[in-house]
Amino acid sequence: MDLDKLRETAAEVAARDDVKYLIGWEKGSYGYRVAPAFAEDADGTADMIFSPLCTANLATYLTLVEKLPLPRGQEPDNRKVALMVKGCDSRAVAQLLVEKGIHRDEVVVIGCPCPGMVDPALLSEKYPETEEIAELKWSDDGFIIVRNGEETAVPREELLAEKCRLCRYPNPVVSDIMLDEPVESWEPAEDEEVTEIEGKEVEGRWDYWQQEFSNCIRCYSCRNVCPLCYCQDCILDRINPSWVFRSVNFSENTAFNIARAFHLAGRCIECGECERVCPANIPLGKINRKLAREVRDKYGFEPGLDPESEPFQASYKPDDPEDFIL
């Protein structure tokens, strides 16, 4: 990706009168860190980047904006928000449009065709972080790590994030501006992790998730980072009725995680952010991908592809399968 072109386009968009601010990525304070950047004008875009470390799905910021009460007579600021999206992020935008979480005229979508992200955990493990700023680039067949001016070439398979191995949509599905030519899609890997769990007996699956959910510390990072978990008043926070108690134990943890997974069935666009941010390393992607697979296989539906489509939860066909209803 041509960074000059990226910054030039970003500067133009951020300078527009009808744009409130632009959300992109920039280098973090140390090591491999990449941070979200908010530019209210052209100057703010000078350090923006797009690299294999830009894992964060910025679509989540679209719905985090609080609409604070306005003093009488004050007009709301209805300018657009511009944001950069990868293929998976754009699906979140599409799904938000379907659910009217945002409206099309409220956003400017800048598409970044994505050759695949690295798995940050894997990267730090294999190529230890330095205090110095390090960066990553794409090469023709993999990644190039630049540390202290020294370049190391790494094959793609070695560091490619799991969600990117499974990715079917590396090019943005919704965009106003595209920063580059579309990348060539790759053959998505078989989701063996999900198949493996499916292969287990009910008890085996229960044991597996019991083990995993027992580690949950109920920090709600998964919920907060998820671009599609944005109810202002989350039912998991309700006290009366209290659907999930706050105690951290297997029963309540399971209720929380399963409720979240079900609220995302037919909505999750598999950006993998929940799993990336989980401090307890719970493989949340698996449970979401399992539900996505069910929805795909049983109903032929994939969320976040067409902003005009009917929401999955609200669509009904007389011949919908119902064999899973006891």
């Binding site: 009217k100 039912i235 009904y316």
Partner: protein, 666 residues
């Protein structure tokens, strides 16, 4: 609620329906100990007058303010008890029913266990009834007009009845003429009166009635609103003939360049018509219509040197520039009378309907024996060389009925009788013919039917019990292969003509109407009535009623009876001038609604819409419920991710304590 709850629990014996399995006395003792319960009583029939009086008395004497009736399903008697407690001045929605019959005594055998379950169900209802809120039902004005969709005998009869009662009636018919399937029939069983003779006067009546607006060659495009206030939009398709100028003389059809080229729908394709046509001589309205699919001028923009029909028409009625028109109006009630399709026997290839011209359907037979039919009522067939009178005629019954292989498990209810009638008509016309009827069972259940069946049997018509397995050709004869199941002998009969007693199927295009009116189908794919016994003409959509074969196969007497029933039901809101809107509807918490619109999409009654509201200076979208349309089904509540829409009386805070009392959750 302001007052301390004072609950009365009324346990019904329902004769022995409940009392034989549930120990009602023990349940009564138990109920008295439940929190806030002041009175608990048992009675043999709580729904009877003395039973209701018990409740009313207690409300007055003991100041009860919440009532639990433990009896049957609320579908049965919720309204009964609501009315009863309303008479005392208490809000009718302060009632909770514990279903200890359908959900307890009828499904259990052990008294001990059934009694324990009845106790739990009552405890749950007591837990909920305290939390119920007072609801007020509303009244809205009803438009004193009705829409009838479909002008076969059902639609015609319904429209005439409503119009005679003094209400404006819009009768919409898709085809150019009213009359429907009945107009195609020759004579009608069992009395053998001529179908046209009894139907045409009604057809003319409905065209001339001052209260009926007949919209023929028209289709309903849009229906919005609810009982009392349906807004209707109808498309009047272009006939390309000026309705007011056309005198119905028929000169145009004679002169048409493609005269008598196209299969006549009315004659089941056995006769021919021109591109400009009157479906049949007695058609109402007697106005010609140009078929745009076949008219040379409309199809190609050119018809010789100029359209001949235009030349022939003495009054200048032909208008190729005519466009579809739309009419809009409001009605208070709708009757659906869209009829049926005859089963297409191509789906039973073993009977060779597609291969052999002398295998015909019962509907085709009707046209063949009809004096106004393509042969003028002569029963003749083409045996490949010449037109002859058939000597051997075979009827096969249950073609496309009672047959799982084609997906129709139901009996079509008319084939036994129309087959017998046609056998009789053929016997009249061909006294020497050999007539055989292959049957599974003979169902002659109506008034005069069994007698007619007997008469036909005495007319030397042979009934052979056994469904043929195959029809094939040998020489210029057809062979019917079957097993006579009464004698267990295989038969192979040589015949000249086979008449397939085809059954009735739901209309292929009924989905359109289903989508317009949010109707459901029953297992047989016909429209579903609200209750199979007690509300046979109502639908789940209030203000929409069913008449005739769209609800299930019917003969003419039943169709007319149902049409009259539907008309009388439809007239209730029209005559009252008001409709009551039930108060148990969904409500949106606009403070937490995130405006995703899932509820809008999922609502089966289109009762929810998105509205823009101002929340502290910000324009935001939230869902809003149209209380007149909402049925309180709760689908929206299930779809809502933020729990922002809930049906009144079934809110989380009301049903969770109820569930908790069952001991399921903490």
């Amino acid at each position: 609620m302001t007052d301390k709850p004072k609950i009365g629990v009324y346990i019904c014996h329902c004769g022995i329906n409940i009392a034989s399995t549930v120990d009602v006395e023990t349940v009564e003792e138990y109920a008295l100990k439940l929190p806030n319960v002041e009175v608990a009583r048992t009675y043999s029939y709580m729904c009877s007058d003395p039973g209701q009086a018990l409740i009313k008395e207690d409300i007055k004497e003991n100041g009860l303010n919440r009532i639990v009736v433990a009896s049957c399903s609320p579908r049965m008697h919720e309204m009964t008890f609501r009315k009863a407690i309303q008479e005392t001045g208490l809000n009718p929605y302060f009632l909770e029913m514990a279903n200890i019959r359908e959900q307890c005594s009828w499904v259990h055998e052990e008294t001990e266990e059934a009694t324990a379950k009845a106790k739990k169900l009552i405890a749950a209802s007591v837990a909920k009834v305290r939390l119920l809120e007072a609801l007020e039902s509303k009244e809205v004005d009803a438009e004193p007009a009705a829409l009838v969709i479909g002008a076969g005998i059902a639609g015609i009869q319904a429209a005439l009845d409503i119009a005679d009662a003094g209400f404006k009636t819009y009768l919409v018919e898709k085809t150019p003429s009213v009359g429907g399937r009945m107009a195609q029939l020759d004579k009608t069983f069992p009395t053998l009166d001529c179908s046209a003779c009894i139907l045409t006067p009604k057809m003319v009546d409905c065209a001339n009635h001052p209260n009926i607006e007949l919209l023929s060659y028209s289709e309903v495009e849009e229906i919005n609103g609810f009982i009392g206030n349906f807004d209707i939009k109808v498309r009047k398709k272009a006939r390309y003939v000026d309705f007011d100028k056309c005198t119905g003389c028929g000169d145009c059809a004679k002169e048409c360049r493609v005269a008598d080229r196209f299969p006549s729908e009315f004659d089941q394709g056995m006769g021919k018509r021109s591109a400009i046509y009157l479906p049949f001589p007695q058609a109402v309205p007697a106005k010609y219509t140009i078929d745009p699919e076949n008219c040379l001028y409309l199809k190609r923009g050119k018809c010789g040197k100029g359209p001949k029909c235009q030349e022939a028409c003495g009054v200048g009625a032909i208008d190729f520039e005519q466009q579809d028109e739309f009419v809009e109006f409001r009605v208070g009630a709708i009757i659906v009378a869209t009829g049926f399709d005859p089963f297409n026997p191509s789906r039973k290839p073993e009977y060779g309907y597609d291969d052999y011209p002398n295998v015909i359907t019962g509907m085709e037979m009707e046209r063949l024996v009809s004096a106004s039919g393509p042969t003028g009522g002569k029963v003749v067939i083409d045996n490949g060389e010449e037109e002859i009178e058939p000597k051997e005629v075979a009827f096969i019954k249950c073609v496309g009925s009672r047959d799982e292989s084609v997906g129709n498990e139901y009996c079509s209810r008319v084939c036994c009788m129309y087959t017998a009638k046609q056998a009789h008509l053929i016997r009249e016309k061909l006294p020497d013919a050999n007539i055989r009827i292959y049957y599974m069972d003979v169902r002659a259940f109506g008034k005069g039917y069994e007698e007619f069946y007997d008469r036909v049997r005495r007319e030397n018509v042979r009934y052979i019990r056994g469904n043929p397995s195959e029809i094939f050709k040998r020489g210029n004869k057809l062979i019917v292969k079957a097993e006579n199941t009464l004698t267990s002998t295989p038969v192979e009969d040589e015949v000249d003509l086979v008449v397939l007693g085809v059954g009735l199927e739901p209309r292929a295009e009924m989905r359109q109407i289903m989508d317009l009116l949010r109707l459901s189908q029953s297992g047989d794919r016909f429209f579903l009535e609200a209750h199979p016994k007690l509300r046979p003409v109502d639908t789940a959509t209030e203000g929409v009623y069913l008449a005739g074969c769209c609800q299930g196969p019917k003969d003419i007497p039943d169709t007319v009876a149902q049409a009259k029933g539907a008309a009388s039901s439809a007239m209730i809101p029209l005559a009252k001038g008001k409709v009551t809107i039930d108060a148990q509807v969904a409500e949106v918490n606009e403070a937490t609604c995130r405006g995703c619109g899932f509820c809008v999409e999922i609502c089966p009654y289109t009762a929810i819409e998105m509205v823009t509201v101002n929340r502290f200076g910000h324009e935001i979208e939230v869902a809003r419920v149209n209380e007149a349309l909402c049925k309180g089904c709760g689908s929206c509540s299930a779809a809502c991710l933020s729990d922002s829409i809930q049906p009144k009386s079934f809110r989380d805070r009301q049903i969770l304590p109820q569930i908790a009392a069952l001991g399921v959750i903490k």
